[in-house]
């Protein structure tokens, strides 16, 4: 059994803007991805969901914590070992239009896979392999091979990239917002394809900000906020019985066809643009129902401020320097998770 496991993974980004400072993108994130399982990673912009994908693909090195694949730390891979890792773990990203070089034909991505991983495979065998992969993603080889990227639709381009991953002996697929740029009519085809691949044993990390899409495909759901897990567990448990205020707020904001938002008139609340002042008052003492959109937005900025303040307290002053892992650990302390029911963990309010 090949599982990918994150253990207390944290990542600090150093901000290049004026004043410098560190931004915590991930705060001690731990979870496991098993074969045949789809985990949807849901969070708003800045929640760290893309960073997790990048850490798994070794595009970003975590500040602390480890990622293990089959029990082996992925940070230890290099050279040939790393190449073997990529044979099993592949990613597909949000924007299919910029994943291809427009000068070359789209199927050049397959040639590159062949020259790196299958140099000894004969032409005949290789084209059979491509056909099988295209068949798995429901593409007709005649429609897509030999075409330039601009001649293909977004859905076709995205499926070509998934087929590319399938050419390899892929065990884990990191799918980062892969359908948000597609039209509604082709979105579902890609979603259904993920379901089919999962049934064949592929583990998929489905990164999205769209709760209804995440719900449709996934077995387990992780809700991220400010780089920390706030709720995690079986998808149906989280969607039918959300416990954390933040999850509840997200669910009430999702636009649904047959249910209107509870439209309450806006209160004229004065909040400063950096969200500092009146923000805290919005949340404390009020339940999830009181998290109206306006207070919610400010409350998010407020929590960011709290984290930044903690960082300043640890590192001192505006110009923060990471000088030791123990210090980082203090600043990054995420809210503790407790078990609400089997396979359903909820974080303490922050």
């Amino acid at each position: 059994m090949t599982t990918l496991k994150l253990d207390q993974v944290s990542k600090l980004y150093r901000s290049t803007a004026r004043g410098g400072g560190l931004t915590p993108a991930l705060r001690k994130v731990s979870f496991e991805l098993k074969p045949g399982e789809v985990i949807s990673l849901i969070g708003e912009s800045g929640s760290g969901k893309t960073t997790i994908g990048k850490v798994l693909l070794r595009l970003v090195r975590p500040t602390s914590g480890t990622v293990t694949f089959d029990g082996k730390d992925i940070a230890s891979y290099s050279g040939r070992g790393l190449k073997e890792y990529y044979r099993h773990v592949q990613g597909v990203f949000q924007d299919p239009f910029s994943s291809y070089n427009p000068i070359y034909r789209a199927d050049r991505v397959y040639d590159l896979v062949r020259s790196s991983y299958f140099p000894k495979v004969s032409d005949l065998e290789w084209s059979a392999k491509i056909e099988a992969a295209l068949d798995a993603v429901a593409l007709n080889p005649g429609d897509v091979l030999g075409k330039y990227p601009h001649q293909l639709s977004g859905g076709q381009q995205q499926r070509l990239l998934i087929a590319r991953a399938l050419l390899l002996d892929v065990k884990v697929l990191v799918a980062d917002e892969i359908i948000s740029m597609l039209d509604a009519s082709t979105r579902v085809d890609v979603l259904n394809l993920l379901v089919k691949l999962k049934r064949q044993g592929l583990a998929i990390l489905f990164v999205t900000h769209d709760l209804s899409l995440g719900n449709y495909v996934s077995d387990r759901t992780i809700i991220l906020r400010h780089g920390a897990i706030v709720e995690m567990g079986a998808t149906e448990k989280i969607f039918s019985n959300p416990q954390h205020d933040y999850t509840k707020m997200l669910l009430t904001a999702v636009p649904e066809l047959h249910k209107k938002w509870q439209h309450a008139a806006l209160d004229p609340v004065a909040v400063s643009a950096n969200g500092a002042a009146a923000a805290g008052a919005g949340l404390n003492g009020k339940g999830a129902a009181a998290l109206s959109h306006a207070t919610m937005l400010d409350e998010i900025t407020h929590a960011e401020q709290v984290v930044k303040r903690d960082l300043r307290a640890v590192f001192g002053g505006g110009r923060a320097v990471a000088s030791g892992k123990s210090q980082v650990a203090v600043a990054l302390e995420p809210p503790t998770l407790h078990e609400f029911e089997p396979d359903h963990l909820v974080a303490e309010p922050e």
């Binding site: 708003e44 912009s45 639709s153 977004g154 039209d183 509604a184 009519s185 082709t186 979105r187 579902v188 085809d189 979603l191 259904n192 379901v195 900000h209 769209d210 709760l211 209804s212 899409l213 719900n215 449709y216 495909v217 998808t235 149906e236 969607f239 039918s240 707020m249 997200l250 669910l251 904001a253 999702v254 636009p255 649904e256 066809l257 047959h258 209107k260 938002w261 509870q262 439209h263 008139a265 806006l266 004229p268 609340v269 004065a270 909040v271 400063s272 643009a273 959109h293 306006a294 919610m296 937005l297 400010d298 900025t301």
Partner: protein
């Protein structure tokens, strides 16, 4: 009727001839109505919306006319349009998040706007501006900030404030919620409703590919396919009782919260929209339509099958003719002008 669009056609110039992106489109908007305009990418929805406000040099109107509040809107005449923009028609452009220049502070941008429109009583407008900023939960210190100092949702809200500052009759909002998180999406959607209710804008066209957002904010929805309108009806009718096969397929492909793959398998729409370079004759959805029959090689008229419900489909108009002759016509339902929740 505050806005009336009659047989409007808009083409893009290209070196291989004109490409008609909006083909013979007619609709009207009542006072206080927010119309949603939905369709796949390349369906011409943004072209239609943009044409009503600013016809860029690549585009030309090849037919039809537009009236706003009973007055003709000279959409082909850029000089005449200059005085009508912002005050009568206004646009929140697609990618509004990056529409604000990073080199000027927000306050300076607004100042420029007022200057170029020769607003005499600037103080009054600025007071109103501060009131509106407060209404949507922004303090007036955003005016002394650069656009990159604001979050995406703040930038989107500031852009809408600027576009609606001079109380236009018609606001065209192009994909205003698309790049935002769900909670910010909701804030921006409710802001549009609030501005309509307070009379800052008389009517609006909300362009998006996301039908579930339109279900929240629009009074009526128009579905566009390959440059033509396919269906137009009050929101509840489109959502619960669509008639055009394309609308039906589009709704069937949307996952809802609570629906999982092991319970319901959703289906996409096979095929792709036709190229507008050389569009096929007849109904343009024909090749992807499960109900297509011989008659579909002729172009269906966009006609009213029930009060307030327009459809361009031979199958629907035939069934409608059948029920009408059999005497089972539906009782008339009025188009709701303002549907409040």
């Amino acid at each position: 009727m505050s806005v009336n669009v009659d047989k409007l056609s808009v083409a893009y110039r290209s070196h291989r001839g004109d490409v008609t992106a909006v083909d013979n489109v007619s609709f009207s908007l009542a006072d206080g109505e927010i119309m949603g305009l939905a369709g796949e990418s390349g369906s011409g929805k943004s072209t239609l919306g943009n044409a009503l406000v600013y016809l860029d040099p690549r585009m030309k109107a090849t037919g039809g006319n537009v009236t706003v509040d009973g007055k003709d809107l000279p959409i082909s005449d850029n000089n005449a349009m200059r005085h009508r923009r912002m005050t009568e028609v206004s646009l929140v452009p697609q990618y509004a998040m990056s529409a604000l220049t990073p080199t000027r502070k927000i306050g300076k941008l607004i100042h420029d706007l007022l200057k170029s429109h020769h607003i005499k009583d600037r103080e009054a407008v600025l007071t109103e501006l501060k009131r509106r900023l407060e209404l949507i939960g922004l303090k007036d210190d955003v005016l002394s900030k650069y656009s990159f100092e604001l979050s995406g949702g703040m930038r989107q809200r500031v852009t809408i404030i600027m576009s609606t500052l001079l109380n236009p009759s018609l606001l065209v909002a192009d994909e205003v919620t698309s790049a935002l998180d769900v909670s910010t999406q909701r804030a921006v959607g409710e802001m549009l409703l609030e501005f309509r209710d307070r009379g800052y804008i008389k009517s609006a066209i909300a362009i998006t590919h996301d039908l579930s957002i339109l279900a929240q904010i629009a009074d009526s929805i128009a579905i566009m396919y390959a440059g033509r309108l396919a269906e137009r009806a009050p929101t509840s009718v489109i959502v619960d009782n669509p008639l055009h096969p394309y609308t039906q397929a589009l709704l069937n492909s949307l996952p809802e919260v609570g629906v999982r793959h092991d319970q319901v398998t959703l289906t996409g729409i096979p095929g792709r929209p036709p190229s507008l370079m050389n569009p096929p004759a007849g109904c343009r959805f024909r090749d992807r339509c499960p109900f297509a029959f011989a008659k579909c090689t002729e172009t269906p008229a966009f006609e009213e099958v029930r009060p307030g419900h327009m459809v361009a489909c031979w199958k629907v108009s035939q069934e409608h003719a059948d029920t009408a002759t059999a005497g089972h016509g539906q009782p008339a339902a009025k188009l709701p002008v303002e549907e409040q929740v």
